[in-house]
């Protein structure tokens, strides 16, 4: 009698285990497929990003931008010149602009750089 009960129990257990195993296996297979698909998508997106980054670098090339700025905006090649630096800016409470060297400051253009442009603000 006990043997028969055990037999039924184990056969039932075997059937349940098969079902559970099949279910897990199916879930795993589907998850793997989704994972592969996502991975493929990631690789594809990365590849696209790589291409776009390279393309952006090409279109943002300074030479190209300079040509466009000259032809469409009429801009000229004007080197920037720093006439001051952060260290020389007056601090709160200080008033270095009253000093003679600053008020009498002038700049002489070297003859070879006649194309330099300056914007000088009158701060007195």
């Amino acid at each position: 009698m006990i043997a028969r009960v055990l037999n039924f129990f184990f056969v039932g257990l075997a059937a349940l285990s098969c079902l559970a195993l099949y279910r897990v296996s199916e879930h795993t297979r589907v998850a793997n497929m989704e994972l592969s698909s996502v991975n493929r998508q990631i690789i594809q997106e990365k590849s696209t990003m790589n291409v776009l980054q390279a393309e952006w670098q090409r279109v943002a090339n300074p030479g190209r931008i300079q040509k466009l700025a000259q032809s469409y905006l009429g801009m000229d090649d004007a080197p920037v010149m720093e006439l001051s630096s952060f260290e020389m800016l007056p601090r709160r409470g200080e008033n270095p602009l009253d000093s003679n060297p600053v008020q009498n400051a002038s700049i002489t253009m070297p003859s070879g750089n006649a194309n330099l442009h300056f914007v000088v603000a009158n701060r007195n």
Partner: protein
């Protein structure tokens, strides 16, 4: 009543049941392991990576992309699958740019597979897909792409085939690293590179020079921020990829005087005000060394450098003597080829018999040929406090100055002298207000077939800024510039303003602070 012993069948049933229990226990445990503990060899959380290692990117010091492998496809066709081979050839020709006649002939042949086009882009692949032709096969491949051509001579190139090795420049010098998938971050700053290239191009065209070249070097780290070569496209030997700054030797002329003066100051053989007879030239052996322009009868040492007198510099070089001069140039690395990460280099050319005459001429930069890169590296040592540097194309952090080659005091004196050249001498057109440029001009007659040609010049300018505490060295060179007159073709009128133009453009990019002018050397400075 005594229990009956189990029969053989019952024992077998029990054994079988036991085996089943054991088996299902194992299966159950494994299920628990897989479902709850996520064990097992397959780790589902790991994202599969592309198994093939692509050649790594090359980027500049700010992360700007310089070289990258991009996906392309080699397109093959199976002609036997086409319904109409002529239509297929026409459609594929329009989509890929391949020659229609070649395709039609190949499709009519007996080959099972025909290469339609190699290294087509994904965009072209989409066009081919839209044709709806059967029998098309896309073989994935990669192509090395260089988004900017501004530094092509430094970056070099790879073989045209997919996964090809580097054959020039950084691509060859760092081939092992790049092929292993490790990115190379260069010391180049593409903003500076473009500014240098742009100035070189404009100046080369302005003076109809055969070629032009430039280097921007950090004198404390040895990092090369920019290196460019520009050639006249009309030249018979035009090669836009030739890196003349690293691969070619030049007799640089008067810029070399820097080393003669540094040596004489280092050995306390001169002061700024030591005078030399110059006006009527300097006779050595059977030769007399003259200056290109009229010079006063007697000149102080500082004016000899400022006005670039050959006769005066020859006398100063001879104060040191051949052995000391040779050892000095050796210690500055000028008698051996410079090793950086690129394979392009050249051995310097110098006389095997280094006598008095050679000492005098090498003093003012004739009789010795070095690469501009070697010169710039040695000049950086002169101004950076006197310590040797190793030029590099890789981004570095911090001070990388090495052995002390000359005393810091000598380096300081040289910086004062270089500033004097710009304020009072031949380098005036290189002066950019606020940046305290120091420098030296060089106008070397070119040597052709053993003779120096008077009006074929190689002009150059070596600039450092800010001169009181130099951070950058700019070296520019023009090969055979043509001025309105012979004088206007000299370095002071061609290379010096070019260097000034480069500095005016790059100094704000490099966040160089403006500063007050440094004192001009005079009495008491020596």
């Amino acid at each position: 009543m005594a229990a009956k012993p189990p029969t053989t069948i019952q024992r077998r049933i029990v054994v079988a049941a036991g085996i089943c229990v054991l088996a299902f226990t194992i299966i159950g445990l494994r299920l628990v392991d897989l479902a709850l503990l996520k064990g097992g060899p397959a780790n589902v959380g790991v994202i599969a990576q592309n198994s093939t290692v692509v050649r790594a990117d090359i980027v500049d010091r700010n992360g700007r992309l310089l070289a990258r492998d991009l996906p392309v496809y080699d397109l093959y066709a199976r002609p036997q699958d086409f319904w109409n081979k002529a239509d297929a050839a026409r459609g594929l020709s329009q989509a890929t740019g391949a020659d229609e006649t070649r395709l039609a002939r190949a499709f009519a042949g007996k080959h099972n597979y025909v290469l339609v086009a190699s290294q087509i882009t994904p965009e072209t692949r989409d066009k081919v897909m839209h044709l709806g032709l059967p029998g098309m096969e896309f073989q994935p491949s990669t192509k090395r792409f260089y988004p900017e051509g501004d530094a092509s001579q430094v970056i070099g190139m790879t073989q045209a085939v997919s996964g090809g090795h580097g054959i020039a420049g950084i691509e060859k010098g760092l081939n092992a690293q790049l092929a292993a998938g490790k990115q190379a971050r260069l010391s180049l700053d593409m903003r500076v590179q473009y500014a240098l290239l742009h100035s070189l191009e404009a100046t080369r065209e302005k003076y109809s020079a055969k070629s032009a070249g430039g280097i921007v070097l950090n004198v404390n780290t040895g990092e090369i921020l920019a290196m460019a070569s520009q050639q006249d496209p009309k030249r018979a030997d035009y090669n836009p990829l030739r890196n003349i700054m690293a691969a070619d030797d030049y007799e640089l002329g008067s810029v070399f005087k820097i080393f003669a003066f540094a040596l004489a100051l280092e050995d306390h053989r001169i002061t700024f005000d030591t005078t030399f007879p110059v006006g009527s030239g300097f006779k050595i052996g059977k030769f007399t060394i003259h200056d290109a322009e009229h010079m006063p009868a007697v000149m102080a040492a500082k004016d000899i450098l400022a006005e670039s007198s050959n006769a005066g510099t020859a006398q100063i070089a001879l104060l040191s003597g051949p052995d000391r001069q040779r050892a000095w140039l050796q210690s500055l690395g000028l008698l051996s080829s410079v090793r950086a990460e690129i394979p392009e280099r050249a051995r310097p050319l110098y006389p095997s018999n280094w006598g008095q005459v050679e000492t005098a001429t090498i003093g003012f930069g004739h009789g010795i040929s070095v690469t501009p890169l070697a010169f710039a590296t040695a000049a950086a040592t002169i101004v950076n406090g006197g310590r040797r540097i190793q030029p590099t194309f890789l981004k570095q952090d911090g001070d990388r100055r090495g052995d002390q080659v000359l005393k810091p005091e000598t380096s300081l004196k040289m910086r004062e002298l270089l500033r004097y050249v710009v304020t009072n001498g031949t380098g005036k057109l290189a002066d950019i207000p606020g940046y305290d440029v120091g420098g030296k001009t060089g106008s070397a007659q070119k040597n052709q077939h053993g003779r120096y040609i008077e009006h074929k010049l190689l002009t150059s300018f070596c600039a450092v800024f800010p001169v009181d505490n130099p951070r950058y060295l700019v070296f520019v060179m023009l090969d055979e510039p043509h001025g309105e007159s012979a004088v206007m073709a000299l370095a002071g009128h061609t290379a010096a303003p070019l260097a000034g133009d480069v500095i005016a453009h790059i100094a704000p990019m490099l966040e160089m602070p403006t500063s007050a002018a440094v004192p001009i050397p005079g009495k008491g400075n020596s």
